[in-house]
């Protein structure tokens, strides 16, 4: 435990900075476990809790400011790329755009607690041309609440976490193998979920060529533009003959759609 405390006090803050930065950049390396452990170690005074929170907020702000700038420069295309590499595609653009349009910049305060929203919210703020200073303030408040919650949880449950750390110290270098295996398993499960989701999606989708053929052959499919208002403002083009419909209005408007024709939905 003495040795672990030494390494934590020497490299702990750098590790937290890199971990939070990589997670906020979109890599599937969860930072909360590290923040919780840092909180537990802060009770034993191996680390300073305010410094841990400060470093986490700083790393988070750097990554988010970068995503904001990319969103501002490349618009909604950044979100599509982000969703392509994300391991949580099911909680991607459409859902997060809706949350952001409903609550605006204050949604950044809780963004880090919502899976998928955390990484997508900053480029989204840039894409809709939100002002940088308010973005930074709300995003910083969100990072403070998120990192503070992680560290506070660690401080509250420090006894249980200390026992876990003592066990890991006891098994020596095998501890690294256990932690590495846990991280690899986490990434594997997320990747498998993503693969299954895309497989389902591929089976259900219609290609542009097939839709064009349906239109040419006079099958007259009903094409629905279900993009959010923000996405439509950013790109006012639409497929000829498409009707506008918000996803949230579908249950209400369902009765008005013809039942004998194929329905095609499209987003950005």
């Amino acid at each position: 435990m003495q040795q672990l405390a030494y390494y934590v006090s020497k490299y702990g803050l750098s590790l937290i900075f890199v971990n939070v930065l990589l997670e906020q950049m979109g890599l599937p390396i969860p930072a909360i476990p590290v923040l919780v452990v840092a909180g537990a170690l802060a009770v034993e005074r191996d680390l300073s809790a305010p410094r841990v929170v400060l470093v986490a907020v700083l790393a988070s702000l750097i990554a988010d400011a970068l995503w904001y700038a990319l969103g501002k420069q490349h618009g909604f295309r950044v979100l599509k790329t982000l969703c392509r590499v994300s391991l949580s595609p099911d909680s991607c653009v459409r859902q997060t755009t809706s949350i952001f349009e409903k609550w605006g910049l204050p949604s950044l305060v809780v963004a880090k607690f919502v899976p998928g929203f955390s990484t997508v919210a900053p480029p989204l703020a840039g894409a809709i041309n939100a002002r940088f200073l308010p973005f930074l303030l709300y995003d910083g408040a969100g990072a403070l609440v998120w990192a503070g919650a992680g560290v506070a949880a660690g401080m509250a449950f420090h006894r249980a976490i200390d026992r876990g750390l003592e066990f890991l110290t006891g098994i020596g270098s095998w501890a690294l193998v256990v932690l590495g295996a846990a991280l690899a398993l986490f990434i594997l499960v997320k990747w498998w979920q993503r693969r299954r989701f895309y497989k389902l999606l591929r089976m259900a989708r219609i290609s542009p060529e097939e839709l064009h053929r349906l239109m040419d052959e006079g099958h007259d499919p009903v094409v629905l533009d279900v993009r959010t208002d923000g996405a439509r403002l950013a790109d006012p083009r639409r497929i000829p003959g498409a009707r506008l419909l918000a996803l949230s209005d579908i249950p209400e408007k369902l009765a008005g759609l013809p039942r004998d024709r194929e329905i095609i939905l499209y987003c950005t």
Binding site: A204, S207, P208, R237, E262, I263, L265, Y266
Partner: protein
Amino acid sequence: MERGFTLVRPLAGGLDGWVAAGYAVDAEPLIAIRPADT
């Protein structure tokens, strides 16, 4: 996905996929602009 309709399907690639395939799009503004008071 069946909801009492013949078939409901999402378009692969969305609007960008449609444009990339080279098909035409309507480009008129989607939000009605009130004519200026005369």
